[in-house]
Symmetry: C2
Subunit: 455 residues, 2 copies
């Protein structure tokens, strides 16, 4: 039941959802750490100028802009007659919500370069924002879990990230997952081997539509872009071709005019496919020529993980970027990283029924409130139990017993403790096991003993 007080695509999470998110996060974070990544956190708000120019025209439209504080209208003193939203925005907004964790990371690197030893492995888990049309698997606020290594061009890092992806999915028990790999240089090589009226960026945008629009539409757009019918058929066959990495490579080499970019792209991919330990991978891994990914900043490898049993878009995305820190006055620093989408992972696990059943949020002890003086005794026991690391609370009001018991049931409490006049006299407490219904009168010492055994 959503009221008109909440924003579409900006989700809240109730306790049962939080437990699930914490379960997925704990697996991802544990793996990040054993892979040598250190945590950082960047601000949720960035300078507007840090973000504009980094995500391509389509991406830019999705950036949330924040109004300047104070009397922005007076300060901007816009020449009102010619104004449009596009020309006004930079005058009255100087901050934006971050769009991903990668550009803020590039800024962080540039600002902290003096104290960082490269290659630097960092992870960051946090919210990002995109003013997209909300739908299943697409939110306006969502959580990314990023692992990047910056400061080395070594392709071993790509191998490491594939292993990271694989081990996370193994732990999550998510099957039917495919790790798709390509390389921007390969795509550039393919692009250059045909003549057309498109530039590379336009070509990527067309190719990117393959998933959603299908090849017929893509073929049309390529023809419109000036490719010959013959070339469009070659491209279609390329995308349709099924086989191992080496078979795909041989096929491309036999069909296209070889150029330097094509060769470099395949050399890099060969290294990666050769070093990937297939014995350890439980997920299939494949070269996908059509992998373009919208983000402007990728220059080398591109990754994407999709699940064939869930139709919720990519679960992981990533790639290599060579120029991302240049915007922040730091040149020649190559980085590569992957981003796990927490919200989509949770959706996939939910649909495949993969959340452990024991992710409950129940309370161990509820103490019944029999009035002020009894409650005072109860409260002293509660504080002792909490000190021992056990969750316990006092029902705050001395309502009728059945009302308090009804709360205990709803709250899924393990044990209810009753301390009335009688118990206080005997220096004991009545404990009721809510699962078995068994009730007994014991001392606090016996309760502690029981607890230790019970665990």
């Amino acid at each position: 039941m959503k009221s008109n007080f909440s924003l579409s695509g900006m989700p809240d999470f109730a306790p049962f959802q939080m437990k699930r998110r914490q379960y997925v996060l704990s697996i991802i974070e544990k793996k990040f750490i054993v892979f040598g990544f250190s945590p950082i956190s960047t601000s949720l708000v960035e300078k507007r100028s840090n973000l504009f120019g980094s995500y391509g025209e389509d991406g830019e439209k999705l950036i949330f802009q924040i109004l300047r504080s104070g009397d922005y209208w007076n300060k901007a003193s816009p020449k009102v007659k010619k104004l449009t939203s596009k020309t006004l925005s930079p005058l009255i907004s100087n901050k934006s919500l971050r769009y991903d964790l990668t550009v803020p990371f590039a800024r962080f690197i540039a600002e902290n370069r003096a104290s960082i030893s490269f290659p630097f492995r960092r992870y960051e888990i946090g919210s990002v924002f995109r003013a997209d049309r909300p739908q299943k698997g697409r939110l306006r606020q969502f959580t990314q879990c990023d692992a990047d290594i910056i400061g080395s061009q070594s392709l071993w890092l790509e191998v490491d990230l594939i292993n990271l992806i694989s081990t996370v999915f193994n732990m999550l028990k998510l099957k039917d997952v495919t790790i798709k790999i390509s390389n921007r240089k390969l795509l550039e090589g393919i692009f250059e081997s045909f003549s057309s009226n498109l530039n590379f960026s336009q070509f990527c945008i067309v190719i990117d539509k393959l998933d959603k629009a299908g090849f017929d539409k893509v073929g049309e757009l390529l023809l419109d872009g000036g490719l010959s019918k013959k070339d469009v058929i070659i491209i279609k066959n390329l995308f349709l071709f099924r086989g191992s990495f080496l078979e795909k490579k041989d096929y491309v080499m036999s069909q296209l005019n070889i150029n330097t970019k094509l060769k470099t792209g395949f050399d890099e991919l060969s290294f990666i496919f050769d070093k990937t330990d297939y014995m350890l991978l439980n997920n299939s891994i494949e070269l996908d020529f059509s992998l373009a990914r919208g983000l402007d900043y990728y220059t080398g490898s591109i990754f994407e993980v999709v699940s064939s049993s869930n139709n919720i878009g990519s679960l992981v995305g990533g790639g290599r970027y060579d120029q991302l820190t240049e915007k922040f006055n730091l040149k020649n620093i190559s980085g590569v990283g992957v981003s796990f989408g927490l919200d989509r992972l949770c959706l996939a696990l939910e649909e495949s029924n993969l959340f452990p059943k024991e992710l409950d949020d129940s309370l161990k002890f509820l103490f019944i409130n029999f009035g002020e003086s009894e409650a005072k005794v109860a409260n002293s026991y509660i504080l002792k139990l909490r000190d021992l690391g056990v969750s316990a609370e006092l029902y705050p009001e001395s309502l009728k017993l059945n009302k308090q018991m009804s709360y205990a049931n709803k709250r899924d409490v393990k044990f209810v403790i009753m301390i009335g006049e009688e118990e206080i006299k005997k220096d004991k407490l009545t404990i009721k096991n809510m699962l078995s219904g068994v009730q007994e009168l014991i001392s606090f010492k016996q309760l502690i003993k029981k607890l230790r055994i019970g665990r």
Copy 2:
């Protein structure tokens, strides 16, 4: 070294800072859980109208407003001539960054009332935003850790929250901490016992200045507000009076004209002071008449925690609110909560040197890269170590040994592993303990054995 790419008051956190934050958070979260609180998470962005009207005029100025997406200027079609920032903002902005976690919680309660069993204990840890002038201990993005109980008026809940505060500060080992308590009704009672030209809200704003401006300034403002010189002296003496809760109560009762609000305020405080177990409290707890707290929504108890050894403002704030959910069409729901300021707590622990030394972020194993084929062998061991839960990484490039060792030193690596031609032949690896400098040739099996013992 801050560049002009980052925003003042919107901090990033490097790995060593993250480890410290995680240390404090783990203590707070653990205590929240044993106190029976369940986690929720609300969206970082709220409808603009949810926030405006909740924080008083001064608070409202600090709300970050987000521009509508798309062609907002065209849609708003503002009548340009009369425009000011104040009249324009609601036309071109419909979303804001959240200002605290309490109003979003009230919205959450109202929207999810059907599935919640009251009294409901929730905790939330997350970023909030205020467009304040940044200074030490005052950021524009900061992290609050909130614990609230909603759906009961019982003062046992106040007692519980005081115990929560106390146990968290004990665990953090932060000394010289005072838990200050007051009650809005008491302050209203004091206000009503004098005649002036002020309303209660104005009176609170004046009293709130005591900390920063001192009593002379406050006295002036009260005189300006129409209080008599005699009354101002009574108020001054009230604030200066030192003593136990009962002594303070007796003093007020002897000095002021008793009214209902004054009586109710003291009744509530008496319950709380009576039930608080001083044996368990390691922190001092005192009634502070001057505690007003700016937030408009408090109606009963008010809490604040300050440290006398650190001049960084309040570390915890909170109180009881009776009408907060009314804005979201849910009446007669009383709530009470406290909010720990993570950033200030970290500052206080840092200044008092209270962070444990072992909060390091070091890597257990760095494998030296001697070239492609050796690295392939190294990588297979790395994957095995990670599966065992141990952090390990391969130096990504086969640079000269001294360069790789220098990285190992900077990274504070525990063990460096070398696998060259010789080691591969013997099916062993050379392990160097970076602390002792001792180097030995052992099998992987021996390494695992060593690890188990070493831990």
